[in-house]
């Protein structure tokens, strides 16, 4: 019997430390904001680089929920985030004009690139014209993976197809695969299928499972990818931590925040280019 008790006690004791720390994160919650952002900013490691700097300076911890732009804006609409930091300007402006956001600020940009297999069956490599490249993919009916998730990248992709005068989603060719998932999943799928895919450069640079894929088209002005930040309107959702959220927005577009963003590099390559307006209040 004594032996039994001892084993029981040992098992319980082994489990206790796991529970001991549970209250700790909750205690730190008072100076915390939730930011709904995109997979590209999180997966590329940008937040891992800039958030510690911000927290050290202001004592505000930032919890990032990484989703597609469409989902991130929806999260904010429901009042589940204090700040949105996304990359689909038209959707962002709609969000502000509906009254869910206070004001939208440009923060930074990078660019989209068209990725494809090294074999390049549609022969787009070297083209600087993104829409011409898409037309060739359409003509060749070469496999193309679409995010299909209303994300910023998906929105940009649909805009490019439209500018090319095509609508592959409606035409229903089986070479056009809409997967309804994040950037990473889309790249994994493209890698497995040797398909073309539109990706943001930051996610591509930090992506490790490239297989045969490489950047085939870049540099077109229409591949410009602008990120914006918006404080959620506390008049819509009174619990929004407007002061702390505003501090984050202010910091992102401040010279210091901008410099921190510019300082993030992978293999010596800069991933995001700050472009917040000079004048700020």
């Amino acid at each position: 019997m004594i032996h039994r008790r001892r084993v029981l006690a040992a098992l319980l004791a082994a489990m206790l430390p796991a529970f001991a720390g549970l209250a700790a994160p909750a205690a730190a919650q008072n100076k915390t904001i939730t930011v709904a952002s995109t997979t590209s900013t999180e997966d590329s490691g940008l937040f891992g680089h800039i958030l510690p700097v911000f927290e050290k300076e202001t004592g505000i911890a930032v919890k990032v929920v990484a989703q597609g732009t469409g989902q991130a804006l929806e999260t904010a609409r429901r009042g589940d985030a204090d700040v949105v930091f996304v990359h689909a300007k038209a959707q962002e402006e709609a969000f502000v004009s509906e009254g869910f956001g206070i004001e939208r600020f440009d923060v930074m940009y990078n660019d989209f690139v068209i990725i494809g297999p090294a074999g390049d069956p549609a022969g787009i490599a070297g083209t600087a014209d993104a829409t011409a490249a898409l037309k060739r993919i359409d003509e060749a009916e070469a496999p193309f993976v679409s995010r299909g998730d209303k994300s910023g990248t998906h929105t940009a992709e649909l805009r490019l197809w439209k500018e090319a005068g095509l609508d592959p989603a409606a035409e229903g060719g089986d070479w056009y695969r809409s997967i309804g998932q994040g950037m990473g999943a889309a790249l994994n799928t493209a890698s497995a299928m040797n398909a073309y895919v539109l990706a943001d450069r930051a996610t591509w640079l930090s992506f490790k499972n490239r297989g045969d894929l490489k950047v085939l088209v870049e540099g077109d002005k229409r591949l410009f990818n602008q990120y914006g930040v918006i404080l959620v309107n506390p008049q819509k959702h009174p619990h929004v931590k407007a002061d702390l959220g505003q501090s984050f927005v202010d910091w992102l577009i401040s010279p210091e925040g901008q410099a921190t963003i510019a300082g993030y590099r992978i293999d010596g390559q800069q991933l995001f280019f700050p472009n917040a307006p000079e004048k700020r209040t």
Partner: protein, 231 residues
């Protein structure tokens, strides 16, 4: 294999971030099982010991709910806890508490259904003796739960296995926030999406190992307990 090597490096490296993720996974899943057991065990016992019109339908529904899709549970709890939802004022979305709630909902039917089966089988054995001994309803439940404790432990383990392995609910209601609501499974999903497949698989091997350790602990508990009865 490279993945096994990665798993070993993760363990040997003693990375504090990894430890925190592992701990959160354990805390969330074990708490969820505890909450589900608190509700599910008495419910299962009650269902085992009562007869009423439509009982068969309740049993079928309960058994069916064992296959609840995690994403559906996650979505339901999300809509409930979202600031725009009925329980939004609690501010629980994107916290470990939300993940515990969602996983508890997910494993509740498993624990309740298995408890019902266990206790009903035992009750079939005990029924006549209990009637002959004049055992009242409350004593009956207590005695059946106590005597069925080792089988009920298996029900808890089944619940824990499901909770620890699922990614659907914790991703939606937890948000996979770095250092706050990132669990083993959401970390695996994240590393997969980043294309770091060896790291993802390494984490996966680690998760399986942890689930095995919990099961081994339960097994020890059970065999020590049973040895005690014959000592």
């Amino acid at each position: 294999m490279a993945e096994t090597a990665t798993a070993w490096q993760l363990i040997i490296g003693g990375d504090p971030t990894l430890f925190a993720i592992l701990r959160l996974s354990l805390v969330v899943s074990l708490s969820a099982v505890a909450v589900a057991a608190l509700v599910g065990m008495p419910f299962g016992a009650l269902l085992a010991l009562t007869s009423f019109r439509g009982r068969g339908a309740v049993v079928v529904v309960l058994n069916g709910l064992m296959g609840l899709p995690p994403v559906v549970v996650g979505l339901g709890v999300y809509l409930l806890l979202s600031r725009s939802g009925p329980l939004g004022d609690l501010g629980l979305l994107y916290t470990p508490s939300a993940m515990i709630i969602a996983q508890a909902v997910l494993v509740l039917p498993i624990i309740a259904a298995l408890a019902r089966q266990t206790i009903e089988d035992l009750w079939r054995d005990y029924r006549d003796e209990f009637v002959a001994m004049g055992v009242g309803p409350a004593e009956r439940v207590a005695a059946l739960v106590w005597d069925g404790r080792y089988s009920l432990l298996t029900a808890l383990l089944a619940g824990f296995g499901r909770a620890a392995a699922e990614v659907g609910t914790v991703m939606i209601v937890g948000g996979n926030i770095d250092g706050f609501t990132r669990t083993m499974t959401t970390a695996i999903a994240l590393e997969t999406s980043k294309g770091d497949l060896p790291l993802a698989l390494g984490l996966g091997i680690l998760l399986v190992a942890v689930i095995l350790v919990v099961n081994a602990a339960a097994w020890t508990l059970r065999s020590v307990g049973e040895a005690g009865r014959t000592a």
